[in-house]
Assembly symmetry: C2
């Protein structure tokens, strides 16, 4: 049997997601795989037979993906059925057969790990000899069975760096101001919580952090913000896009649109809160909403995150080659000071469709954090990545040509 592998990416990208692909590619080269294929735009690329031959591609371009933001193989939000008798599965395996794929790797978040799990289940059920391993990624950091998720450290570094520079901007004036940062995170507030790391003048910068894990009460929020504003003049707030009221509804649920996975498309919570603050407290609120940039700012990536992510890809291929299947590569933290991290394999069935939220004991009164989140996040943000820059003063990235093999 040929040593052929196929890899694909899915879901929202991260600043270092491609480092995992390059790690997998490197392992496959080291292990002398016959063919290293990538599907363009996730499982959709498999179904459409849009397959790129990574071994035939320019080596420098492939390796340059490590320092390139967002999904270098293209991404999708196509949701595979949970029922493996759905014709999509047969279609996927038909392509696997044509390509003589013995190893399949899917690089994504919760939904992708679910797809990965189902593909493994299908293979087992039909006695098909294919090893399936998931390579995790998500800035949301909400995958279970792993200490943290590839991509989170870089997003946290981006948000905290952004907050720190903005603090210098705001504190250079004496005008009382409320500064509100909105972060990603639908159901888990890891990114919002991570902003507890930001410092100004040696002290914690952010005064309040509002998370999906806590019930958001508008009256309490306004009363607390007004009190802080009177006391401190300069108030820093972080709100997760996913904050919910006591009924569990998103704050902006009235105006939400659903995406293909049935997730509410959020955003704009900070603008809404700004208008409420303007009505009740002060018109002086400045909003920092990094939007998609928090998940693709490779120029502010964490070197630790980038290296760990590379290793997830490398280990995925190595483990599959050693006969493992139905797992996701995961992190196990040994200690913080100095930071030591081990790699392990977590069964995909444990990961699929579950969400890891912030432990309740890390949250104080629904709006502040214990030091746990700081100790947890700091090691993941360590180290800077220098990107190659062109003659125009701007970063140079790698782009894989959309050149598909003939099937």
């Amino acid at each position: 049997m040929k040593k052929n592998m196929l890899i694909a990416q899915s879901g929202g990208p991260t600043a270092v997601i491609n480092s995992g692909v390059v790690g997998a590619f490197t392992a496959a080269m080291d292990l002398k795989f016959d063919n290293i294929y990538a599907a363009y735009q996730g499982i959709e690329g498999v179904l459409k037979k849009e397959i790129i031959d990574l071994k035939a591609a320019d080596r420098k371009t492939v390796e340059g993906l490590k320092y390139t933001p967002s999904a270098g193989l293209g991404s999708c939000r196509y949701k595979m059925s949970k029922d493996i008798t759905h014709p999509d599965f047969e279609a996927v395996f038909k392509v696997f057969e044509e390509l003589e794929i013995g190893y399949f790797f899917y690089n994504g978040g919760n939904d992708s790990m679910d797809t990965c799990d189902k593909i493994n289940e299908y293979a087992v059920k039909h006695g098909i000899d294919i090893k399936v391993i998931g390579i995790p990624k998500t800035v949301d950091n909400d995958l279970v069975g792993t200490d943290h998720c590839p991509g989170f450290g870089s997003a946290a570094k981006y948000l905290n760096t952004t907050l720190q520079v903005s603090a210098y901007d705001c504190y250079s004036y004496s005008t009382p101001t409320i500064i509100m940062m909105e972060t990603m995170g639908r159901h888990a507030g890891w990114l919002a919580a991570s902003t507890a790391c930001a410092k100004y003048n040696g002290e914690q910068l952010v005064d309040r952090i509002y998370l999906p894990e806590s019930v958001f009460d508008m009256d309490a929020f306004l009363a607390d913000t007004e009190k802080l504003f009177k006391e401190k003049k300069m108030v820093f707030l972080t709100v997760s896009e996913g904050i919910k009221d006591k009924n569990g509804d998103f704050l902006l649920s009235g105006v939400s649109v659903n995406d293909n996975f049935g997730h509410a498309q959020l955003g704009g919570v900070s603008e809404f809160l700004k208008s409420r603050i303007a009505e009740n407290i002060t018109p002086r609120t400045k909003i920092i909403n990094p939007n998609i940039i928090q998940r693709c700012a490779t120029h502010v990536a964490s070197a630790t995150d980038m290296e760990e992510t590379f290793n997830t890809g490398y280990m995925a291929v190595k483990s599959a080659y050693e006969g493992k299947s139905g797992y996701m590569v995961a992190y196990e933290r040994v200690q913080n000071n100095p930071y030591v991290m081990n790699y392990k394999l977590t069964p995909l069935s444990q990961v699929a469709n579950a969400e890891k939220t912030i432990p309740q004991e890390w949250i104080i009164d629904g709006k502040q954090m214990t030091n746990d989140i700081i100790e947890y996040t700091e090691p993941l943000m360590k180290g800077e990545v220098m990107l190659r820059h062109g003659n125009d003063g701007l970063p140079e990235f790698s782009r894989l040509p959309r050149k598909f093999i003939t099937l």
Copy 2:
């Protein structure tokens, strides 16, 4: 007479504004000035007698300001009267006398250069021997009498870098999307125009750039955007916060609030346009609004801009020491390839209250740019700045203690 100098900063900060202060400090040390004073928060600090002794401060802290965002001496938006018989002027000169100031440097934009000009005029009129030099800064790049402004190159680098990483995020999906970046720039669209530099896959990324220099027509905007969206699927737009309709009114003038200088407080134009696009074309618009971050992102600063800014400060002190007064340090571009730039002195009276806008011949049909802006901007973005980072993975900045001398 003592060789005493006083320096202060005013207006909206930049990512490299403090580099000018460190340049001035370095020159004053080299020229063996007796005392190097800074007023805290601009001319207000002079009036309030909040004076910091920079020579007495920790040298590493002062020099570390070079790599610290935003006004390290504090900033203000206090507008001095244009009438030099106003009591503020007498008060300012009384403090100068107490401190035996022979040299005064004001680091700011248009309004600060006006203040600087008036202070010089007062000195000349009353036969007071004090040399006054302006040190320019503004991300808006709208000062006349200089090729470009300190701070602009770094802001342009930040915006273009942000656009380039976001392009990789957006193009990783096949979902048709409109991406709209909102930039600063009230009356001059230099920052918006600079985004013509951003590239994806070797081609210009941004399709349309809307500037204060052109009349904004909503119907034409919607028609053009719809056409682009149908043709290209992925559409990148840049809008300046200061876009105006045919009557010269800001697009959001109905909801604007005035600041102390009589400027309309803008922002939110992109959200407004997004809502119009949603009504007429598609709900899929992603907004990138870097807000204050574009003027304080020292972690994405241009090394060229930082060095040039240092030199403006150095040259200000050197020129004053040589007897010059009533000038602003300015840039004169000699050539682009390779980039050569000279420093010169421009009379403050030429700079005060004037605004340099983009040449009309650089604008095509009110919504695209000729190559001129690219050739103009690229050299200013060149070179990366590595910041010192702490054990927490976040940048470490310098903060001058608010320790005032007794007067």
